[in-house]
Symmetry: C2
Subunit: 401 residues, 2 copies
Amino acid sequence: MIGLAGAGVAGIAATSGVLALTEEERQPPPATSGDAIPFYGVRQAGIITPAQDRLHFVAFDVTTSKRAELVAMLENWTAAAARMTAGLDAGTIGAVGGIPEAPPDDTGEAIGLPASGLTLTIGFGPSLFRKFGLSGQRPEALEDLPHFPGDAIEEKISGGDICIQACSHDPQVAVHAVRNLARLGMGVVSVRWSQLGFGRTSSTSTSQATPRNLFGFKDGTANLKAEEPALLDEHLWVRDGDGPAWLTGGSYLVSRKIRMVVETWDRTPLGEQEAIVGRTKGTGAPLSGGQEFDEPDLSDKSAIPVDAHVRLAHPTQNQGARLLRRGYNFVDGSDGLGRLNAGLFFLAYQRDPRRGFIPVQTSLARRDSMNEYIRHVSSGIFACPPGLQAADDFWGRSLLA
Amino acid sequence: MIGLAGAGVAGIAATSGVLALTEEERQPPPATSGDAIPFYGVRQAGIITPAQDRLHFVAFDVTTSKRAELVAMLENWTAAAARMTAGLDAGTIGAVGGIPEAPPDDTGEAIGLPASGLTLTIGFGPSLFRKFGLSGQRPEALEDLPHFPGDAIEEKISGGDICIQACSHDPQVAVHAVRNLARLGMGVVSVRWSQLGFGRTSSTSTSQATPRNLFGFKDGTANLKAEEPALLDEHLWVRDGDGPAWLTGGSYLVSRKIRMVVETWDRTPLGEQEAIVGRTKGTGAPLSGGQEFDEPDLSDKSAIPVDAHVRLAHPTQNQGARLLRRGYNFVDGSDGLGRLNAGLFFLAYQRDPRRGFIPVQTSLARRDSMNEYIRHVSSGIFACPPGLQAADDFWGRSLLA
């Protein structure tokens, strides 16, 4: 992050309890960093962007009842997000060039670090629409997810009015971005829950090797990928007529924190692990034969059991449903029972959760033999608007303004 | 990690409830990865090794009462550690080349990843010596740390019989190593607590730039560094005659999880932040003037307040005490009160905690103006033996065998 010294003092003036940015800070920043990903575009960055290695995901509750304060904060967030994704401080009066009498308008821990592929992706949860008289704008598909068999959802780490997905090659850059948005949101939003992910578990581009989840298996082999525009139009992007106009060109995000009981898994014979997944552990090839990217032969029930994960999640078993998965491995210390608190923070984008995640998860929750080793503990759903294409546009304007 | 297929089946035989390794697995592995750090040496790797970017730290409780089982596990751990730090699977019968009837002897999530600078450093806590009749071998300096003013220590995430510090450039590699040691230790140890760190906060070599902590300041400017052998002999390594022979050439590790109230900090004026630290936020120069690596002029009490962190932690204020710090930034989600659960996982190595961490922390806990923004919630102390120099040696042999 590059500090811009010597900017005017007006930037630190507080209006209505909301930190305000100067006009200069509202201008789109120059691209300054070779590894920066463009913030402006038809789509939000961070969806089909080749999945970065690290994640900081945060869900906020809106604490103000004043719509103008929320709008002002979203304007400030947008300006700060445009700056940070370009490798700049969150505001012009950063730690470098700050004035002694005011809090810096950047927290400083990313000074000297490049943009590091940072993307910031925003989504709005169903609960937001119950506030500020927005229920007429709520897409029908944006409803809290149903209870699935086996769910052990903890409300405190679920839901949220607004989510931000921060992805980067450098975790310090992702954490810095979330923290500065939280700082700019003081008095308007508060952090409901947040989750770090240390390793991506899906590829979103054919240019990426398939990574491994904490079961030790390749994950996301059959993921939707950026290089498949026709499939993305069919399964990922919300179309004109699907719902309210403000979401056209956007997507729905489902988040699920899936605790894995890795200690039990690690005592399971290799053959049983492979039968549960439906793929070999070494290469990721389907048990029906071939290579990783070959289609599994689901007619071969002796090779791929009826309750194998790859079978139950397969589009042909779910009316053609496909998702763009973008999950991350996590370890949150230990669970007090002698085990690591580890698993998969599942993130998936889709055109309509009623034809995407919900039917797939209904099928998995009922029959997947993997269920013995996992537990869903957090759930979220968010509507993610299309990208911003003009420098004077801001997150949520088409919804709120 | 590279899987070695086709190894014998003997490796999966379980003896006395302890997973056993084959003779082949006990041999020192060939160096296979360009970014591997040697496991064998006069000192344990992971102390003066240039600090890697990511951490997974774990503390175990020993759950067996049978010394032979503990010894057997430490032999297996040593063999697995030598293999993993070289970029290999934890055992020869990994996920690749595994046999279907047995659990794989590697969990698989690091298949295809290089060694990534992995170091594994072991330490023994005071509680271990109360077991197995080892009290005669306990160094006098290895005592649970005293209560310091302001401490809010949670016992469940403190202490431990054995610790492993796993550092790597890739968090997936560090997590993989800890998880496989936990797997090999089933029935002998259980995970008491564990902590991920995403960004190093100290340099341990003059070749490294000084990183920043979550207060946004450079941290560890005056750290002990690998290039200062005379200072390391004086302050870092346990000498002959300091205590029991098994620890000569080793060091003491103090761990402290320090929660930072970043939201309050972020509302503090820049000038106040700098007065608390005693350095400028931008460059890290002492407030008495000069550049980052210039000595602070502590006689200048108008520039560096009497309760500034840099003053109270300075060797001249603590009978010359110096530490080798090796801490990491952490974010563990949120705290349920609308705030990020973030801070510094402080790790410091030293020759004698009674002349190192304890007097420094006593001084800081009483007077440091930073205390308003931090809270120590976890505490640990461990004696870390010297390095292993022979392929038939194993962790803890000089103590236990």
